[in-house]
Amino acid sequence: MVHVTSLTTHHMRQALSAGLTVAVASLVSIYFVYSYDYWIILSCFFVIQTTRGTPLKQSFNTLLVIIMALLFSSLLIYIHEFALVAGILTVIFVFVSYLLYSSRPVSFTVFYSGIVFLFVTLLGTLEPIQPPYFVHTRIADAVIGGVIGILCMALTYVQPAKAFKQDLIPLLKLLSAYPQALTNNFLEHKNEKECIETKLAIERVLQCDNSTYPEWAYEVGFNPSLRSGFRFFLITIERIIELCFSMNYLASLKINLFTHPNQHTKILAEGIFHAMHKNQELIAILLHYFVHNKLRQFASDFTSDISTLENALRQVVPHRIELLDIESDYMTVTAFVRDIKDMRRLLLELIMALP
């Protein structure tokens, strides 16, 4: 039930970068600390946990949250009544936690900001103070840690174009086998389990906003020169996925048109099979491009099979559209063929848009 992402070089790189940043921050805190505490390392650790879309903006926002929480905890430190401090911390903790967990699902940035504020307030208020205590020493340490985190992140920054390609590969791999499974399920009621599993896998990929899908391209403030291209690609890919889900629903209706096929329905079935195979080929071309950074040469004709499919459909279903709903199977197969056509159009748009 738990989504497990496969680790890529980017994940390794990010973990290595985070580890080195924390190690550097701990070395700096040995020699240049103001508050004789852990705020340099802690601030650095909080700041490096960002998504790939707007890492600098998120880091600054996190640093701001840390400073606000430190200022707030500094106010609480001057209250010497333990009961009052405990009461205030209880109210804040219960309120923020309840809000975060009741509003699920929330975006990662909102959840993370809430958690950081909570943690820093609790740590800052309850940590025993070495007198004399000055709030500016903690804030200075937090800023130093934040700067170390931001600098290290800037040094290990991954180019968005490269990251985008890497992040789309898992989704394209899942999509590459899906059309064929859908066709088999629709025509012969086979591969139903495979269709369901692929659908669930795609759903899991689409909800992991930091690991397996470039959700970060939608973030406000993302690189303006890359934004429109990336977003066009993501929107088109999602439309293709919607078509797959639509076909999944149509396949679940289990039509009987192809159970005892006559000559015309056989030709139609072959046309559907062939057209979906071409769609699968187009997805494979996309995948090859993203994996090898090179557009594969292809000789296939991607238009005549659609014409053949439409002709085959006209031999099976009534010509007049008001007669289509006489038999539910006619409507279903017409919808399926339309989905195939739309998928073809979108895939060709994507390939034409590749640099």
């Binding site: 039930m1 738990v2 989504h3 992402t5 680790l7 994940h11 990010q14 973990a15 290595l16 985070a18 580890g19 924390v22 190690a23 701990s26 070395l27 040995i30 505490d37 852990y38 390392i41 802690l42 650790f45 333990f82 405990a86 903790f93 219960v94 936690s97 309840y98 967990y101 009741s102 699920r104 699902p105 958690i115 609790l122 740590l123 309850l126 025993p128 659908k199 899991r204 689409l206 909800q207 992991c208 906003d209 690991s211 939608y218 993501l234 999602e238 919607e242 078509l243 889900f245 639509s246 629903y249 149509l250 679940s252 559209i321 289509l324 709903d325 409507m331 919808a335 339309r338 739309d342």
Partner: protein, 354 residues
């Protein structure tokens, strides 16, 4: 968002805080007593996000061990950064491998960092670890006693989240058909739809996880009823997405002005129906009545026969849309029937009889 839907959650958090602060107050002679508060509060957050108590329990012990080790290494200036590097590296790899359990490695790293620069003698180091264990016990035992039936409440809360996301998704898809601004602001509308789909996927994954946990404790026939609800929800999502294909197929958006009234009626009725489904998900109500929706679809069909079939460039897409709407009706009725069957199960009757 229903702020008062889970009062037990607030009571649990309140009790954890009260016990942690009270025990810490009585142990104020020990300079490490604040670790009890930190560990009980942070581990309580972990118990909220996981399905059982085992993982937070184990996390608490791992934290205690890591803090003890770092307490020993804190006296060695150059070993400490290496240890922190290793802990951060491993925890971040785990965070990325299991993004759903992000808080667990995050908490481990956090406690390790906090303990790293506090050089304490061995006896206080041991006290620190013991306080962390005590805090873990406070959080996990309270959850076991107080929220032992939380999973049923969590199940219906997640179900409600799924239905809310489906309702919002439907509204956003139909907004693309109703608002002529869609043509010039495709990204804005599609972004909203993407956001609703994302919420649906998150909610349904959470629902699946909790129902998987609940299914271990119920009979086979009850499991099948629960599984049927999940299947119907997935089916409903597919049908909604199928309805939404119209927005990608229409080349001339002015066509929608010819059927704006009918589309608006369908949109409004769908909102009412989803509100009824959400009410049904936690009250023992009768099943949702889709008669009004069928009437609205019939009106749209009449418009298609009299107007759209003649004026639209591609009338077939509207016919396919009508077929999808009829399927949506049936999917909603089927889901309502499944929810009704769930409410009749003995194991959930006490939850529904509020």
């Amino acid at each position: 968002m229903d702020l008062f839907y889970q009062p037990k959650l607030a009571v649990y958090l309140l009790l954890v805080c009260c016990i942690a602060f009270s025990v810490s107050y009585y142990l104020q002679f020990n300079p490490q007593n604040h670790w009890l508060i930190w560990s009980s509060l942070f581990i309580s957050l972990l118990t909220l996000s996981s399905v059982g108590v085992l993982l937070p329990f184990c996390t608490g012990f791992i934290v205690a061990v890591m803090v003890f080790i770092v307490g020993v290494l804190a006296h060695h200036d150059y070993v400490l950064p290496t240890y922190l590097f290793a802990v951060t590296f491993i925890c971040l790899m785990v965070e990325q491998r299991y993004p759903y359990y992000f808080l667990i490695p995050f908490t481990i790293t956090l406690f390790t960092i906090v303990a790293s620069l506090q050089r304490v003698p061995l006896s206080l180091n041991v006290d620190r670890a013991l306080y962390i264990v005590a805090g873990t016990l406070v959080a996990t035992l309270l959850q076991s006693f107080l929220l032992f039936k939380k999973k049923y409440g969590e199940l219906f809360f997640s179900l409600k989240c799924v239905l809310l996301s489906l309702s919002s998704l439907t509204q956003d898809i139909f907004a693309c058909l109703l608002y002529p601004e869609y043509v010039d602001n495709v990204y804005l509308f599609e972004r909203r739809i993407h956001g609703q789909k994302y919420r649906f996927f998150q909610s349904i994954t959470q629902l699946r996880g909790i129902s998987h946990y609940v299914e271990k404790k119920i009979q086979l026939n009850e499991r099948q009823v629960l599984q049927e609800v999940l299947n119907k929800l997935e089916m409903l999502f597919d049908v909604i997405v199928d309805c939404g294909q119209l927005r990608n197929r229409v080349s001339d958006y002015s066509t929608f002005q010819l059927c704006a009234e009918e589309l608006g009626g369908i949109t409004k009725e769908l909102k009412n129906i989803f509100d009824q489904l959400i009410n049904q998900s936690h009250l023992n109500n009768t099943q949702v009545d889709v008669t009004l929706l069928k009437g609205k679809i019939k009106r749209f069909e009449e418009n298609f026969t009299n107007v759209l079939q003649v004026s639209a460039k591609d009338p077939l897409i509207f016919l396919l849309f009508i077929s999808s709407l009829n399927a949506l009706c049936e999917a909603i009725a089927a889901l309502s029937a499944s929810l009704f069957a769930v409410s009749k199960l003995e194991i959930f009757k006490s939850y529904f009889s509020k």
